[in-house]
């Protein structure tokens, strides 16, 4: 997996501001979050790594959710009902940190994002 698997022309900073995980997102993301949640079991992590596509199918992901998972489209997963606390388990399986994800969400490299945090974080008016 490349460190920045950005295959789209869209800048990743188009992410929504807050990503409130509400009941509508819970309904929308149920299969996706169940899949990610299952990765808390070591045997499931191995099954997922052995055949990601089959694993997505077994959890009943929509085509768009499946594509987002396979492509590690982290913003796309959130837009399709993912909760960050669930998708983070997939990131950890890839050995990607929350700071890596922070960079993805804000159009920065991991190091740029980490440096921004070390400098006191990001401010919004």
């Amino acid at each position: 997996m490349a460190d920045t698997p950005d295959t789209s022309a869209e800048p990743r900073t188009n992410a929504r501001d807050n990503y409130l995980f509400d009941l509508a997102h819970n309904r929308q993301g149920q299969a996706l979050n169940r899949l990610c949640g299952s990765l808390m079991r070591a045997e499931n992590r191995e099954r997922f790594k052995a055949d990601e596509e089959a694993y997505c199918d077994a959890y009943g992901l929509s085509a768009a959710q499946k594509q987002a998972v396979l492509q590690r489209d982290w913003t796309g997963m959130l837009d399709l009902g993912g909760s960050i606390f669930y998708t983070f388990k997939l990131a950890m399986l890839d050995q990607k940190s929350m700071q890596y994800l922070g960079g993805v969400f804000t159009g920065m490299t991991t190091e740029e994002f980490a440096e921004t945090m070390r400098s006191g974080g990001r401010r919004f008016g």
């Binding site: 929504r16 807050n18 819970n26 169940r34 949640g37 669930y86 950890m92 969400f105 994002f113």
Partner: protein, 285 residues
């Protein structure tokens, strides 16, 4: 009720301890900030800690999202959150206090979900490590886990959490026996993990909260959940769990120590320790 501790529960704080990185330049300022509180707590060990926290997709799932829940088990295993369980002792419960809390809270019109089997995640174990960094084979106190939904919107209001804490405080006060009980409010401070605002730090709001939690918690209870999301971030709403802790304490408290640090991973991190003087005055000399 002996003391109350408010502390962040960021997973990487636990990982820094588990991997011996607390002396690294990145982490040293945070852990140096903990030191005075840890020294004081080591001399004021409770028998039971009531830990107010939230599960992060480990024991609970989006299938079931209780607003307020109480662990009632004899013990709690440490969850594998996706990267292997933390190398810390399993958590011993205090089921008699759990039963008392459940009954008293229901009588106070808080409709409680009970968890008779619960794997505890970093939300609970990191605060225990903040309190006691080197527990050896067992934690120094029993634990009653109290869970609050802060993950799925809408969360309980800050005002309701403060009242919930007050009900917990009353229940602890009527628990038979002379167990020394501490209450932990966990999570919180600037916390925006996803989206365009990822990495939001609002130090001004954090410091205002850190100050007011001692002597003006009502002003914090009056804030809406939208206020918390706007000012502290989507996950910054975890601060409402500090209000549960504060509500459980008497009106007569003293600040022992506090510290604030940026960054811990993608967030701010803080600690605030309060002694409950109401309890001390009634204790034998």
């Amino acid at each position: 009720m002996t003391w109350g501790l408010a502390t962040s529960h960021v997973p990487s704080i636990g990982a820094a301890m588990d991997h011996g990185k607390t002396g690294d330049p990145y982490w040293k300022p945070l852990f140096d900030g903990y030191a005075p509180a840890r020294a004081w707590m080591a001399e004021h060990t409770p028998d039971v800690a009531v830990v107010i926290y939230n599960d992060h997709a480990n024991a609970l799932s989006t299938d079931l999202m209780p607003t307020f829940a109480v662990g009632t088990a004899e013990s709690y295993d440490v969850a594998d959150e996706g990267w292997g369980p933390r190398p810390v002792p399993r958590v011993v419960g205090a089921p008699h206090l759990s039963e008392h809390l459940v009954r008293e809270l229901l009588d106070s019109s808080f409709d409680i979900t009970t968890c008779s089997q619960l794997e505890v995640d970093h939300g609970l174990t990191v605060p225990l490590s903040v309190y006691c960094p080197n527990p050896g084979p067992a934690w120094p106190c029993a634990v009653v886990p109290v869970l609050v939904n802060v993950i799925q919107y809408p969360q309980p209001t800050a005002a309701r959490c403060y009242e919930f804490g007050q009900a917990i405080g009353r229940a602890i006060g009527t628990f038979p026996g002379d167990d020394r009980v501490a209450v932990f409010g966990t999570g919180g401070m600037s916390h925006q993990l996803a989206g365009a605002r990822a990495g939001l730090i609002n130090e001004e709001f954090d410091r205002r909260f850190l100050a007011a939690i001692e002597d003006d918690p009502e002003s914090l209870a009056a804030l809406s959940r939208e206020d918390y999301v706007r000012e502290a971030g989507t996950e910054g709403i975890e601060l409402i769990m500090w209000l549960v802790m504060r509500g459980a304490m008497s009106g007569n408290i003293a600040r022992i120590h506090d510290t604030y640090h940026v960054p811990a991973s993608n967030t701010a991190a803080a600690l605030a320790l309060f002694q409950d003087l109401g309890d001390t005055e009634s204790a034998p000399a």
